[in-house]
Subunit: 526 residues, 2 copies
């Protein structure tokens, strides 16, 4: 079923010379299919098709786009176990995880389908004319959000479905009316082709223009660079490492016409364990965090990699309990030998840092490519001085920083780089730590009270982003319906004839959407 | 009254060595006051104060911010003619223009004061918890927009009040809760100091923290570069030339922590004169455009610098009528000898281009520094081949392109760079030119039917921005209440105790703002 070819619009082709295979980390063997890297010519054709598709897709109705997105969901489900099997063989993740991630992907597709079908997301805003106004009559002005153009999406290694080929970035861009060119992830290219088949089939069934979606294989960085530099591309979505995201950002910023890059990158997701919480609930949180740190082999953007507390018996006990709990957990397979290689390099670099003590290093025999959890600790002064210790280790790793006092804790927080999340664990003491809370708010996109940062709800109020380097632009989110805002711009019609206005802005409000008319939010006609 | 010093927070200082003066283009003489360029030390202090001010200003209530903005308006009006006189002496603009620009500035201040007093602009969004949900209970998530931090604003030469010291960029940033550091414009530094005095006085009267506003003098590019590179700065607003805006964008993109730069830059604001309009209303539009091109000596971002039509008798007559009308108009003073110098260089570079014919070159004797209007014409093929002809000439200059046919017209539009506005002049023919309209929409932020692009209404539905190089990020606008979105990011609280939530997100909805609660827009409490 998997051909190893690229979808250039609706057509499978493989004119390139370079090939590669994906790898099954559970069996420690290459998978069978040979993938052909996309050629320069195929890139050109994909972008020409996307540009052409945009001329009609940009004004395709919300109802039609909704059919398209729902049909992608139907097609994904129609694969049944085939998709799950390939997913597992290319990621080392469990069948349960595959099924739950598929559910999330389906939910995202349906959420955006509902959003565009309802239609109010375009923020239609109308200021009617006032010919009597002096000294100058007021013109009629009508604004709505319109799509930017073809978007390039780079899938995430750690979410082969929900943040890859037809994941959150792709779906939000398609919902906006932007054609999407996916640079398929080299670790799960087969899963990617299968999902691409579903998208293409859905596009054909629902009458979307050829070029609305392409899926390009590549194992190196050249294809991604070529895409970001291409004048037909109008924005970029990326989930991955800081170095990868920043490289794409730099390329985009240097273009003759710079374009927005939304890169969701690394994060250590600091957790502040306040004194009462350590004293009263230390055992509880130790267990919760042992699970959160090892969940999915720690391969989540929101994995808690840094726990900050103040020195003392309660923190010492917390560390002991965390060690006791985490050692009980059986390691699981990581995504790819490259991922486990990086994990091992990063943990060993950390362990070489002066003053860092390793509390737990799960050393029982495990299968090849399984990630053994590591817990370390360091004092506040050492952490402050050595910024290497501030860096993310992608995998089941966490560091407990024992601060001298609350003042040092506040200083450490203020020196941290931008983060996706920050968590405060507190027992009837939060009011007394407003300075800590304030400092943490400045550094993060989401702040959590008495919980774990893993688990990112897809809903209206979610923010998955944050100050650099958590993301390249803290004004946007990668998860939730507002993620569509990354791919649209406001567009204004002045004195435009009603008959030629888009439905969203016509006097009659034929779509019955909520609009801001002369300062009042209403579904009424004018 | 004007000291020539810098406002470093609330204190006037001048520890720098470099000095400069502003220039009165009407009298062709330097003005009296000597301004001292801000020193490196003063820059550091201004940014330290702004960073410190942000810790409280970011959570200052909408009611208090509203008082602050309204008080700035009161203080500006309190200057009476003093402000108008200085404005005129530093810009060469008329007293009537000064008064109307002051009104616009006051209106902007009041508009943002009302916006933050009402409070719903923060887009409060609440998804309540659902402990019964399976397989995982749903957490409580609450989101609102929060300010980014200290913002650097570069004022525009052509709007000494409405797009400078306390103009749209500054006011939208202050309304958002961001301290502002203004890099004062060297052409109207005295006007800037007077306005800064009003802002500082208003800050003191309404109890805003010292550092919420600073006003830094400089005549070169070094101060601006230092500000954009400074780690304490979190975003930049700029209005001016493409080269200036792009330089700042490049500096910001190269920072270790890149920051958003919203630069509103040049535009030729293409106008499409369709055949029936040329035939039936040619005389009417010739007169309208003669006025629009020369309004304020053509020194508007939305000045119509390019008129596109199809070759033939009607277009020839339009050009003749435009020439006849525009020659009647008395030239007016331009902003500064540098501006008129650039205008003369740019027009002469244009006139040297092969195939460009000058139709009108107002050559009657005018006062020194007055800008004489120039109308040129060229055929479509020549225009297509020579991109020098696509560039903006800031001043009373316009070019009529005589296209071979509608197909060539469409190609030309698709080859234009991004524009603030595009205009279509049509008489019962718009339906037949959907391809032209489509192509134009792709290139602009605002599209106008049967009007002139000059005149930018401050209202909800306005878009003043557009694809690059009209702006550095087409997803935002520089005019209208949505301009506040440039300076804010979404921030999410998870399971946060109600008592410690900001007022905007508390169950009781004490501010009575409109919120999205579990998918429904409402002012109800939870």
């Amino acid at each position: 079923m998997i051909t190893g070819k690229n979808y250039i619009g609706n057509v499978l082709t493989s004119t390139g010379k370079k090939t590669f295979k994906t790898f099954n980390p559970q069996t420690n063997q290459e998978n069978d299919v040979t993938f052909t890297e996309v050629s320069d010519l195929e890139i050109e054709v994909a972008l020409e098709l996307a540009t052409e598709a945009f001329t009609t897709f940009k004004t395709t109705s919300g109802a039609k786009k909704s059919e398209f997105l729902n049909e992608i969901a139907t097609q994904l489900l129609a694969f049944g176990d085939t998709l799950i099997t390939i997913y597992c063989s290319e990621s080392g993740l469990s069948k349960e995880r595959a099924i739950s991630e598929r559910s999330r992907t389906i939910f995202q597709l349906q959420t955006f389908a509902n959003l565009v079908k309802e239609g109010s997301w375009v923020e239609a805003t109308i200021d009617t004319e006032n010919l009597e106004r002096t000294p100058i009559p007021k013109v009629d002005l009508r604004k709505m959000l319109v799509p930017l153009g073809p978007i390039v999406i780079f899938g995430a290694s750690n979410f082969p479905l929900a943040y890859s080929t037809a994941g959150g970035d792709t779906v939000s861009a398609l919902a906006a009316g932007c054609p999407v060119i996916v640079k398929s992830h080299p670790m799960h290219t087969g899963t990617g082709e299968l999902v691409a088949y579903a998208v293409i089939k859905a596009a054909e069934i629902t009458g979307m223009p050829n070029g609305v979606f392409s899926n390009l294989n590549s194992s190196g960085i050249e294809v991604g660079s070529a895409l970001v530099k291409h004048p037909a591309v109008k924005a970029v979505g990326f989930t991955g490492s800081i170095s990868g995201g920043r490289s794409l950002y730099n390329l985009a910023a240097k273009r003759p016409e710079p374009i927005p890059v939304f890169a969701e990158m690394g994060s250590v997701n600091p957790v502040i364990l306040l004194p009462n919480a350590a004293s009263i609930k230390g055992v509880h949180w130790a267990k919760k965090y042992a699970n959160s740190i090892t969940l999915g082999a720690g391969q989540f953007c929101t994995n808690p990699g840094l726990i900050l507390g103040t020195k003392g018996e309660d923190l010492t006990n917390f560390i002991k309990n965390l060690a006791k709990e985490i050692i009980k957990i059986e390691p699981v397979c990581m995504l790819h030998p490259n991922i486990i290689g990086a994990f091992e390099n990063n943990t060993s670099r950390m362990q070489q840092q002066l003053g860092l003590e390793t509390i737990v290093n799960y050393t029982k025999d495990t299968f090849k490519n399984y990630g053994s959890q590591i817990i370390t600790t360091v004092d506040g002064a050492t952490f402050l001085e050595n910024t290497t210790l501030h860096q993310e280790v992608f995998g089941p790793f966490s560091m407990v920083v024992q601060c001298e006092n609350v003042e040092q804790l506040a200083i450490i927080i203020s020196k941290l780089e931008g983060q996706l999340t920050g968590t405060i664990l507190a027992e009837n003491e939060l009011e007394s730590y407003s300075e800590i809370v304030n400092a943490l708010q400045n550094r993060v996109g989401r702040i959590i009270f008495n919980g774990v940062p893993t688990g990112v709800e897809v809903c209206d109020a979610m923010v998955h982003g944050g100050p650099y380097p958590a993301s390249t632009d803290s004004r946007f989110t990668a998860v939730g319906i507002n993620s569509i805002k990354r791919w649209v711009r406001p567009f204004c019609y002045q004195n435009w004839p009603n008959i030629l206005l888009p439905y969203e802005l016509k006097n009659e409000n034929p779509l019955n959407i909520s609009r801001l008319v002369d300062g009042k939010q209403t579904t009424k006609k004018i």
